[in-house]
């Protein structure tokens, strides 16, 4: 933990005030999640009769009613993981190969392609919404995982981001390998890629979170309950169980607990990824 020395000792009241402020903030952040969890363990009637107390009796009814039918929340969880992972892999592969060419190889048309990448970086996503819907429909991808993963992987952030890292690598590294007779693919896979592993990890975290949190696009391109991901699925759940608060909160809990656990384990990498792209990028 970096501690800034200001050459002064903080007076006790200031210290108390500081921790009280942080404590209140922590409470504001955690209380809604605690209420979500408590409500999810109530019975349907219990949530209506005693909405503000502890569950009495404790019950997992709400969770069991989420296992099938029109609101298979556990399935949506898997779909969300599948879509976010697939899109992340797609971005890592296409962006790293493309960024390698843009940063390390000389070829005709390079400046035009890089120019397009930059321009498209500045265009807000709303521009692509309707035409991409029509393209995805034309490809027959509506209601498939392809619609959830491929268009979103086509943005230029990844290639732009990785290019900055590739361009800073010293030339000698590949030249030595080429003299030894290594082909371009081997230079890329065995020499260049391992050197930018932290950048790849950062891009992976950002890509995964973006896909995981995307809401508007899946709401419109997914149709059938079994193909839903969490984001559009939960909004359906809200409609289906409007006043069955224990079931709605159980759905929210199923959607949040796995990500919160992953976040707790990998919080340093995740926070460094989102800040790294901001502060250095």
């Amino acid at each position: 933990m970096s501690v800034k020395s200001t050459g002064m000792v903080r007076p006790l009241p200031a210290t108390v005030a500081l921790y009280v402020a942080l404590g209140i903030l922590t409470l504001i952040i955690l209380a809604p999640l605690a209420w979500m969890l408590l409500t999810s363990f109530k019975t349907d009637a219990g949530a209506i009769q005693q909405p503000y107390g502890l569950p009495d009796p404790w019950s997992i009814d709400a969770y069991t009613s989420l296992t099938g039918g029109q609101t298979p929340v556990f399935r949506w969880l898997l779909n969300s993981f599948a879509a976010a992972s697939l899109q992340t892999v797609l971005i890592l592969v296409t962006a790293s190969m493309g960024a390698y060419a843009l940063a390390r190889l000389d070829f005709a048309g390079k400046r035009i392609i890089f120019g397009l990448v930059i321009v498209m970086l500045l265009v807000p996503p709303v521009i692509f919404l309707i035409p991409n819907y029509l393209i995805v429909e034309e490809l027959g991808w509506l209601d498939t995982i392809a619609a959830l993963t491929v268009p979103g992987a086509a943005g230029s952030f990844g290639i732009f981001f990785l290019r900055q890292f590739f361009i800073n690598l010293p030339r000698e590294i590949e030249e030595a390998a080429r003299i030894d007779g290594a082909g371009e693919i081997r230079v890329f896979l065995q020499i260049v890629l391992p050197l930018v592993r932290p950048a790849l990890a950062t891009l992976a975290v950002i890509s995964f979170l973006n896909n995981w949190n995307d809401f508007l696009w899946p709401v419109y391109v997914l149709l059938s309950p079994e193909h839903m991901t969490l984001q559009p699925g939960l909004s359906m759940l809200q409609g289906a169980y409007r006043t069955h608060f224990s079931i709605v909160m159980a759905g929210a809990a199923v959607a949040s607990i796995p990500v919160l656990i992953i976040f707790a384990i990998a919080q340093r990498q995740i926070v460094e990824s989102v800040t790294g792209a901001a502060v250095k990028g």
């Binding site: 200001t6 050459g7 921790y19 942080l22 903030l25 922590t26 504001i28 952040i29 955690l30 809604p32 999640l33 209420w35 409500t39 909405p51 503000y52 592969v93 296409t94 190969m97 493309g98 060419a101 190889l105 000389d106 070829f107 390079k110 392609i113 397009l116 498209m120 500045l122 265009v123 807000p124 521009i127 919404l129 309707i130 035409p131 991409n132 819907y133 393209i135 268009p151 086509a154 943005g155 230029s156 949190n213 809401f215 508007l216 969490l230 984001q231 939960l234 909004s235 709605v248 909160m249 949040s256 990500v259 919160l260 919080q267 995740i270 926070v271 989102v274 800040t275 901001a278 502060v279």
Partner: protein, 294 residues
Amino acid sequence: MTVRAYLFLAPFLAIFATFVIAPAVFGLGISVTNWSPFRARTAFVGLKNYIALFTPGSLQATQFWTAMRATGLFVVISVPLLLVIPLAVAALLNSRVRAATFFRTIFFAPYVLGVAVIGLVWGYILDTQQGILNHILRLFGLDRDIPWTVNTPWVWVSLVGVTVWWTMGLNTVIFLAGMKGISAELYEAAAIDGAGTWRSFRQVTVPGLRSVTLFVTTTTILASSNMFGQSYLLTQGGPGDETRTAIMYIADQGLSQNNMPGATAMSYVLFLILAIISVVNFRLQRDRGEESKS
């Protein structure tokens, strides 16, 4: 060399051309036609769809600018809060705090949940009859239920409050990372000059964060102007069209009402306005930076 380079670029170019370049051009194309899935022949109509958006009194123009007003209002209220609160929290965490990483982790956590979870949980908390927020306020002596997600101005309080709760942590960790990059010597120098906490924050921290602040301001304006999920889930755009944002209206017109030409024209108008705001914001912050240097 060129062939090899294009082999490396091929996978990226294939999806980039199909889902970025093609739609950008195709969208502009649709916006100057009367294209409809129910019409056998499509005709070129010039700027008609754009002119319709600037014709006072037409239904399309009224609804579009009502939605633009909702987006504008949300940006104007949410962006300052999403800058000031995270800056203050980051400053707290950057002073000598035990377990700063623990607090940072807690404050960032809501951001990883996704807007649907936020919508469900807060929809329940803010529910007029069943919600715990009104229950707590009643314990504190409030004698009526506040219609958090039903009536103005409460809908705006809710949408902005929920957004701050959800995304505050993102800007906080970015500011905090920026603060770690400010040299400790600057703080020592300020302390020797007799600067207290507040003055060293004003004279060392804030100037040291200039480029980070520009980044955070820009991304927060863009994120807030893209607001969709909170309104969709918490207020359904209501009451009336009060909280139906521009993105919500464009998506509804284009994807539910089959008014694709109108919706693409709207998206280009929105794009243009965002581009102007970005340039103005960039200029303002840069000028301020130069002023304080001289």
